[in-house]
Every structure is written in structure tokens, then in C-alpha cells.
């Protein structure tokens, strides 16, 4: 996490977003420090983001941790004065709680934090939410729908778009319905 950001006071998210969008370097990892996260299970802290990497230590369930960055399914964290990697599903973010005193930032530049002074930390959307009355008593907007239709992309265009980033198609079956775990492997 960029420390200077942690010092900001109750700045609207939507005002600081442009700053980050423009100022953030493009990195392979999402660099930001997230405090107010905890472990949902006993978890091995790995030296590197790989299952067969060396285990630095085993961290206990419910331990509060600091998330530094993410790389695919791995989160780089700081805990018990060590830095290492844990599986993302071992972590739950609890940044919205008011029980912590630390300010926090999101795991990403675009949606980093706003602090709220001494009351702890929170993230806000600066939104009042969509008006539910507009769903129950709708006002159709056919002009907007026409615009939406005009935005539709052809398969050819989609393929070109994917090629720009070397997105390589994969073969993966839908996952079986199971509560006991059965990741489908093609």
C-alpha cells in the first residue's frame, strides 16, 4: 500500500480514482496493502506463490493479516512479521468493519481507499443506489436500447480483440454441482 494514501482524509473515492488510474504503473501484480483481512482456516505461508514452494510457517485460523498484492489465486500477505503467499480462498476481507484502527487500501489501484479519520476505515461508493421504484414502475428507454444494440460486437471483432492480448482459448468443462468439491478438469 502506498503510505501517502493512507493519510488521506475522507476523500471521495470518485475523486481519487483518476489519480490512481493515471499514476499507477502497470504491474504484473496488484500492488496495494489491504489491512483488515483474516484467515478462515489454518494456512501455510509460502515463500513463493506456488503450491510446491517452501512453507515458511503455518498460520492459525482467524489470524488478522495484511494483504499486499494478488497474483492469480495467491495473495501476498504480511503476518507475524513475515511476508509470504497464501491461497486467496483462505482469506476473507473484513475492511468494512469498524473494529480496526488501521486505515486500509483495496487490493487494487482503481478502487483504493478512503479513510474516515479516527473512526477507522471504510470504502464508499458515493452512491445513493438505484431507485427501486424505477424497476417496479419502469420507464422504457428505447433510444438507449438502440444504442446498446449498435454496440454489439461481431465474432470476428471479438477474436481480434482477444488476439491483441494473446488470450489463448482453453478447454474446460462446466463444473459438476457438488458441495463436497469436484473441480472439473478437462
Amino acid at each position: 500500500m502506498k503510505r501517502f494514501l493512507a493519510a488521506r482524509k475522507a476523500v471521495s473515492l470518485w475523486l481519487i480514482l483518476p489519480l490512481f488510474t493515471v499514476a499507477s504503473p502497470s504491474l504484473g501484480q496488484d500492488k496495494a496493502e489491504q489491512e483488515n483481512a483474516s484467515l478462515v482456516r489454518e494456512t501455510e505461508l509460502k515463500r513463493k506463490p506456488f503450491s510446491d514452494a517452501t512453507t515458511a510457517t503455518t498460520l492459525p485460523q482467524s489470524l488478522n493479516i495484511h494483504v499486499l498484492s494478488r497474483q492469480s489465486s495467491w495473495l501476498q500477505i504480511r503476518a507475524q512479521e513475515q511476508i509470504g503467499w497464501v491461497k486467496m480462498f483462505s482469506v476473507r476481507f473484513t475492511g468494512h468493519t469498524e473494529s480496526t484502527s488501521d486505515s486500509f487500501a483495496g487490493t487494487k489501484e482503481l478502487f483504493n481507499l478512503i479513510t474516515t479519520g479516527s473512526s477507522g476505515s471504510t470504502v464508499t461508493t458515493a452512491s445513493r443506489g438505484l431507485d427501486e421504484n424505477k424497476f417496479s414502475d419502469p420507464t422504457p428507454n428505447p433510444d438507449a436500447f438502440a444504442t446498446m444494440q449498435s454496440l454489439a460486437v461481431s465474432k470476428t471483432e471479438a477474436h481480434s480483440f482477444a488476439k491483441e492480448q494473446n488470450l489463448r482459448e482453453q478447454q474446460q468443462d462446466y463444473l459438476q454441482i457438488s458441495t463436497s468439491g469436484s473441480g472439473g478438469k478437462s
Partner: protein, 290 residues
Amino acid sequence: MNKLTTSILLLSLGIACSGCGSNQSFVFNNIDIGKGLSALEHTQDALTEVDETAEIALGREIATNLLGVAPLLENQEVQQYVNRVGRWVSIHSDRPELPWSFAVLDDNSINAFATPGGYIVLTKGLLLTLNNEAELAGVLGHEISHVLRRHHLNALKKASGMSALTEITDLILTANEQSTESLKLITAGTELYTRGLDKEDEFESDRMGIVLATRAGYDPYGLPAALQTLEMINPNDAGIAMLFKTHPSLDERLSRLDIAMASGFEQYESLPSAKERFTRTMAGIFSGGK
């Protein structure tokens, strides 16, 4: 809804009754997309009795209502970008020929809506919570999956107290142009988004969404990463209240994905997240856009 639109809808639904779709396996680039669907057949119910044309006609009316909730984001580059990502993901589904199209509403709240037939509307607020293209692909994959499995049609059937979707089409078909029955159906289909779907439908869309994003070549952990981001937002925030009200808890969704992705997905960890392209495009929102 004007008379012309009503007529188009009625005509489309009339066509619907003349032919009933079936869930067929689809082969794309030698990938058998339909393979693995057998485990999901339980939700098919009587929905295959509804022709795709009728589904699209109903969906476009609901989408037109959704677009009345907030204005479109006036940024052509972002709108095109979301359509390109969404179309690329949809190509890897078992219904690639639907008229998939996507629109971003200029609203800071966080939500996304999928209507029958392949029309997907999301908010600017949701876009800005995301960190990279893989996360967007995962989120759109989730929405696309709602369409694939006809979750909203199924919910509309239940909400209407009907035993089969054909009852809905029959109801509309027997209504004359002065009838408000078809309009009621479309309004009910719009109001549905404030009530939410069956929790199992959401879990299913999560599972399918990560698969679609993976097939499209993205880091499959984009969707769970996006869900973890939402955990950071104060649940009392008005901008996310509707999403929380209409979906299972984030903790439960992440726990389900944890189980679903427990094996077989490590092989995809090197797939790209296309962060730079995403960040570059989103920057346009703040620079005035085009």
C-alpha cells in the same frame, strides 16, 4: 410499451410456439461446449419449450426498461470495450449466437443485470471496483450464465405462479393489443431484479462464469477476486445495498467457489489478466471520454 412493440413481441412469441428448442451440444474450435452440461440439466424444466426468439423478444423489452433506470455512460470507448470482452466470453458459451450486447449505466452504484436473450447491463460503479480485464470477464461470465441457464425466465415463471413457461407465452398470445397482460409480464420481469434470483442460480452462475472466463483465456480467479473486493465495501453503503439484498452472501459465494475450484484450476494460473488494457480504458472515464 407501444402497440408496435407489443405486436413484435406477440409475433415473436407466436413463432415460439411453433418450435421448441432443445439443449444441444455445441462444438467450438474443437471444444465440446455442451460437454459437462448434463450435470446441470435439472434447471432445464419446461424452459426448453420456449423458443429462443420469444426469449429474445421478452429480454429486449426488459432491457429497455433497465436502460430507463439510469442514463448510459457517455464513453464510447468504454462501452465498446465492455462489449468486446463480453462478446469474447459469450463466444465460449453454449449459446454463442444470441444477440449478446452490453451496456454500462452512468451510475456509481454497484450492480449488473442480465435479461433473457443476451442483454447485459452493468453500472459504472461496478466497473470501477474491478482491477483488470480478467475480473470483468469473470463478472460478465456470471451474467452471461444467467442467460444461458434462463434463470430469469425461470424466476418469472415462478413469480407468475405458473407451472411452465409456455403458460406465460399462452397468456401473452391470448391477450389482445388492448390487454395489459403482456405489459404486466415485462414489468414483472423488470421488478424481479429488486428481488433477486434463487441462491442456487447465483452459485451456478458463479461456477459457470469462471469456466467461461477460463475458456476465453483469462485468469480464472478474476471473479473471486472481484467478490473479495466487494467484501471491502461497507455493507450499509446504499450503492451496494441492492446487490447484497439480491445475492447470497459474499462469504458463501467465495466458499462455494473455493470448493468448486479446488482442483484442476492451478494449471490456469499463468493465464493473463490483461490489467494494462483494462486500466488504460477505464482511465478514459475520468478524462472526459469519447
